[in-house]
Symmetry: C2
């Protein structure tokens, strides 16, 4: 029941972005939709293949990029979980987000032309690197690519409701679990079960709560029969009630 077994277990069964088949490209990848689902022609697929560069694996704790590095590329997570964070002058960490396979990181670096945060592996991680100058040049020739970039950036602009509101700890945690569950489900995991690759402290930091509060609320959710917690493995027992708690954050 150790976390090590859990982690390797997840790894083994993980339906993550895996383009072992080079010509199929990552079916769950950021650009999978462009390449496969939306009928971009073979030429475009080949051009993306020339562009992409596989990087990794990174061990837990290693950085894909660091705050201040000169911006040159965006990345798609292929496998594992990445945490983005900044560290302020006093050394305090501020967690900005968690990124699952198929999700893009580095989009917030285009404007400042340097990465505004660290991207740190929480478990063994592999990524795809897309040189941004090359990608944006490609985007001028392939409108599908440009559209997908616009869409994904737009999505990121809108998606920060969880942190933004003045919500209670119950609402925050419920919404966090619902949203994380959805993202895992999109990646092919069984709905209702999810693995927390990040520590309680990271969750708390991300939700702007104290780690103790996260502990307490999870405990209470379990006592109320909403979820079942076992270390970093979590099962949602009553999705409807959990969603109801998160409703103020999720509908808007």
């Amino acid at each position: 029941m150790g976390q090590d077994r859990v982690t390797s277990g997840r790894f083994a069964r993980s339906p993550i972005a895996d383009d072992g088949d080079e010509l199929r490209f990552c079916s769950t990848c950021a650009f999978g939709a462009v390449c496969c689902d939306r009928g971009v022609d073979k030429l475009a697929l080949n051009e993306l293949h020339c562009l992409v560069e596989h990087v990794g694996p990174f061990r837990a704790g290693e950085a894909v990029f660091r705050n201040g590095d000169r911006f040159g590329a965006i990345f798609a997570v292929r496998s594992g979980t990445v945490k983005t964070r900044v560290v302020d002058l006093e050394g305090r960490e501020l967690v900005l987000g968690f990124h699952l396979p198929g999700e893009l990181i580095g989009l917030d670096a285009i404007h400042p032309e340097s990465y505004p945060c660290d991207a740190v592996a929480l478990e063994p991680v592999e990524v795809c690197r897309f040189s941004f100058p090359a990608l944006s040049t490609l985007a001028t020739r392939l409108p599908g690519i440009q559209q997908e970039l616009f869409r994904r950036m737009s999505k990121d602009i809108g998606g920060k409701a969880l942190l933004a509101g003045d919500y209670s700890s119950d609402e925050r945690l419920a919404a966090f679990l619902v949203l994380l569950g959805r993202r895992y489900a999109e990646r092919g995991f069984a709905p209702g079960t999810l693995h927390l690759a990040m520590s309680r402290g990271d969750i708390a930091n991300y939700l702007r709560l104290a780690a103790e509060t996260v502990s307490r609320v999870l405990r209470r959710f379990q006592d109320q029969g909403l979820i079942k917690v076992d270390g970093r493995e979590l099962a949602v027992a009553r999705p409807a009630e959990l969603f109801a708690l998160a409703r103020p954050i999720l509908d808007r």
Copy 2:
């Protein structure tokens, strides 16, 4: 000293985006950098002119677009101040941001393909409308336009630190004033003086505080000699100290 005089005064002296001269285009506008500063050729300028459509004026309280409207265009504020907000099921308002002349709104609507919020005029407002299909088509031919769109979207992704952190009311308000002051300064206002187009309630809502707290903190800042408040007119007396208060939010 009434607010009416203040408002009209601001209007009169406002160095807002104003392209009365059609061929110069808005010098402070969102795409001004593309059109003027970055040497996009006359052809591109003309094409942008064919694309843009002036809309307004809107009276205070009127909506430029509404939550749920089908997405078709992004807008640049030409004059006045726009508030973006959502209203939840119980009718509670949640303020997402304030937008000054030259700033773009509607970028978060590309992905969902419908506007995810209301955009409401806080004072008389004029906007430029850019049909998005036409704009993105244009962007595939003119890399400068595409780059500028990427840059602005990237900036929006990164720029939500104020709301995201678990900061004190002092820090939030100080950062709000510093950032608003900078944006006004970019638009040509005298540094250190700024006009609050929005009510205390809107500020409080945006910062996730109670309106009473905003009142109290502004009062204390004034008692401490940091600022001088007169209704919705505000002068920063000690910018360095105000910045020091906001530092935890602003540097990161």
